[in-house]
Symmetry: none
Subunit: 251 residues, 2 copies
DNA sequence: AACATTAAGTTGTATATACAATTAGTCAAA
DNA sequence: TTTGACTAATTGTATATACAACTTAATGTT
């Protein structure tokens, strides 16, 4: 071990953008990349501070800062006397916060885009009216949008929108702005509810989401109100192998 | 100004709990208290690093760390060349209630009972220690309990418990009182997190839950803390065709 | 065999020092 | 008046050093 550098650290800065940035920031960026690309697997031990110091010729305090901040961000875990390890962290979303899939994808560094599969306007059926607490003569929009993260489908969104409260819904370009963002402007929500369950998608849904048959999905049904009128109801389908809901509470 | 200390810093550590803690942590705690009690108002300028150094006789790097971390946490804002300021109060997000399966079953008029499948005690493995934020020399309990509603399995619970915080966990009768109820008495939780996803159970889990192969399950991984120590980590598996999570929010 | 001690390696914290980068103000020259 | 240079104050980053606290493995002792 004497003079050789740690195998995980060869060409450590090699494929990083050559932006001028502080050393600690570039260290964080490099390590984040190793983890998110899977080059460093979960629970794997990462080089010690001393090894990084030796390999990269930086100060230990700088390495310490990078590792400490990444630990605070949940990417790594550390144990005094033992070492530093890659934490288990999949793509996750805040549970029971109204969420915006585009923002979430962006926040974890993914490439977001969306494809609108359907957008129609008509009167609510009896079933819909009951389900949504509307009247059958009210106009509603129905839209189906497929959301992608890094060119992989991450959410299939079926949505029904109250056309009285959001009359311009049909003219929006949801590949640019998500329905959530538009609806918040059109009719700020005051209340909402969620129903989360594990379901087996049908053949068409499997095809759209690009998953195998028998791959479970996390289904979220969400309804939001503005005052006493329902604004929108959505059914969000996420592939189980690519998606987790995350929630945190404190007393 | 020459020798006098900053007026905001007189008796700075006075009304703090005298717990042994690192200087930077006590600094953070003291400043957090000033801000949350309103003694330091939003947008007010806080003493500069140099002033704190002079008043409290600590190193500037220590002060810098405290202020930097508080800034990352959103309590303060800083501007190079200008100073450090109290940030605007941040919005509180909706939380997700910790739930008790026995109470839930009872609340919808079901008949509840449970069967304990396993209960052992040993030291945490390295993987567990990393996963749980414990030390490898800490003792933990492992338990597996199957919960029934009207004689149908409704939840398979695999749980790891910090034996230091809940030493009598092994002597409880969880067919009478759920782990959640006991743990709340033993070590009141102050923080927690949830991870929800859709998974496909393995053959043994299918058999225990009395479901068909390919029936998706809703898996909840939950970790709870008491102060900075983890109390318990659990994996809760619910048959997708018999279980839903429900949440409500209002603004 | 069981237990205690020691050593080596690792992370955690604290300090002193140095220089860079940014901002606001001062003051002099055009 | 405007411009520009300069200065002081402040935060931002990087390093070297030191010691504390913890974990594991090896070693020695009973």
């Amino acid at each position: 071990m004497a003079n050789s550098i740690h195998p995980l650290l060869v060409n450590f800065f090699a494929d990083l953008p050559d932006t001028p940035a502080p050393i600690y920031a570039r260290l964080k960026q490099a390590i984040t990349q190793k983890v998110t690309t899977g080059e460093w697997q979960a629970n794997q031990r990462v080089p010690s501070e001393a090894e990084i110091v030796k390999a990269l010729n930086v100060s230990r305090m700088t390495v310490n800062r990078a590792l400490r901040e990444l630990t605070a961000e949940g990417l790594l875990t550390r144990q005094q006397g033992l070492g530093t390890f890659v934490a288990q962290k999949k793509a996750h979303s805040a549970l029971f916060e109204v969420h915006n899939i585009a923002e979430e994808v962006a926040s974890r560094g993914g490439q977001y885009h969306a494809k609108q599969l359907q957008l129609t306007k008509s009167k609510a059926s009896v079933e819909e009216a009951i389900n949504l607490g509307m009247r059958t003569n009210q106009e509603i929009f129905r839209s189906v949008i497929l959301h992608f993260e890094d060119n992989q489908p991450i959410q299939l969104e079926e949505r029904v929108v109250n056309a009285t409260l959001a009359p311009e819904y049909g003219e929006q370009d949801f590949t640019q702005e998500t329905p959530y963002v538009y609806l918040m402007k059109a009719a700020p929500m005051t209340e909402g509810e969620h129903l989360v369950e594990a379901v087996l998608p049908n053949a068409r849904e499997c095809e759209l989401l690009d998953i195998n048959d028998h791959e479970p999905c996390l289904q979220i049904k969400r309804r939001t109100w503005s005052g006493d009128q329902i604004v929108t109801a959505a059914r969000l389908l996420h592939p189980g192998n690519r998606f987790q809901l995350f929630g945190h509470f404190s007393s």
